[in-house]
């Protein structure tokens, strides 16, 4: 009788576990027509994230790995538009569980008539300006004027 109760509990637990699972956040990639893009300035971007399924049922960064990879990709794209999107899934076995990695690759194209100045280049120019000002090689007014010129180019 006791074993029958144990068996029933086991079956109920197994059934409950069977419906256990999760769904990742949906990632949407809007499409832009080529006539709006500067196709001469495409650059490859990527976003990657890994998670681990511990003991088959305990997800560690599993459900949000898509979101992380997506955010990395979008962050790399900045204001540019995405095309040529591809996805690659990798997994590896690690005895206590399985690791899963998601790699998103795409080409980022700037919109037509977007100035060809990268964020990094702007930051570098501003740092140089600050340095010149700190060394008192330029006046505050000159620094302000140069900053304005950089901003106007954007």
């Amino acid at each position: 009788m006791t074993s029958l109760i144990k068996m029933r509990r086991l079956i109920l637990t197994a059934l409950a576990m069977m419906v256990m699972g999760c769904t990742s956040m949906p990632m949407t990639f809007p499409t832009t027509l080529s006539k709006d893009l500067d196709l001469t300035r495409g650059r490859e971007i990527r976003g990657e994230s890994c998670g681990f399924q511990l003991l088959m049922v305990i997800p560690i960064n599993i459900n949000d790995r898509y979101e992380t990879a997506y955010n990395q990709l979008m962050s790399a794209a900045g204001n540019d538009k995405i095309a040529n999107l591809s996805i690659e899934e990798k997994w590896f076995y690690a005895y206590f569980g399985t690791g899963y990695c998601t790699l998103l690759k795409a080409t980022a194209y700037p919109l037509l008539n977007t100035p060809n100045i990268s964020k990094k280049a702007i930051e570098e120019k501003l740092l140089i300006l600050k340095d010149l000002r700190d060394k008192q090689l330029i006046s505050e007014e000159q620094e302000r004027a140069r900053r304005q010129e950089i901003v106007d180019k954007l």
Partner: protein, 108 residues
């Protein structure tokens, strides 16, 4: 014991990749929208318990199948735009099944 250690080491290094699955193509000059579509591809990692969970059954091709299903669901479609990707998984004692869903606007 030696065989077990060798096998264990091999499995520890075992891994697999789906390969690159193209979801959206190069920027298009123009296209005709044919309606929303969706495709799902599922695969399972067998065989439980966890230490024996390294046998993929249709796992690596799930995105490719989901994409192909989404495109083939609409007659005349050659690709997708405004694509949405999503994954779900569930555990069923001796394995974990993962399903990839590719949705988007079918185009030609």
């Amino acid at each position: 014991m030696k065989v077990f250690i060798i096998l264990f080491s091999v499995f520890l290094l075992s891994a697999c990749s789906s390969g690159q699955v193209v979801i959206t193509k190069a920027p298009l000059e123009k296209f005709e929208k044919l309606g929303r579509t969706e495709g799902t591809g599922c695969g399972t990692m067998l065989l439980g318990p966890a230490y024996a969970n390294f046998l993929p059954a249709m796992l690596n091709s799930r995105y490719e199948r989901a994409y192909n299903e989404a495109v083939s669901n609409v007659r005349g479609a050659t690709g997708l735009t405004d694509v949405t990707l999503q994954e779900s998984w569930y555990w069923w004692v001796i394995g974990t099944t993962r399903c990839a869903t590719v949705a988007g606007e079918a185009i030609r």
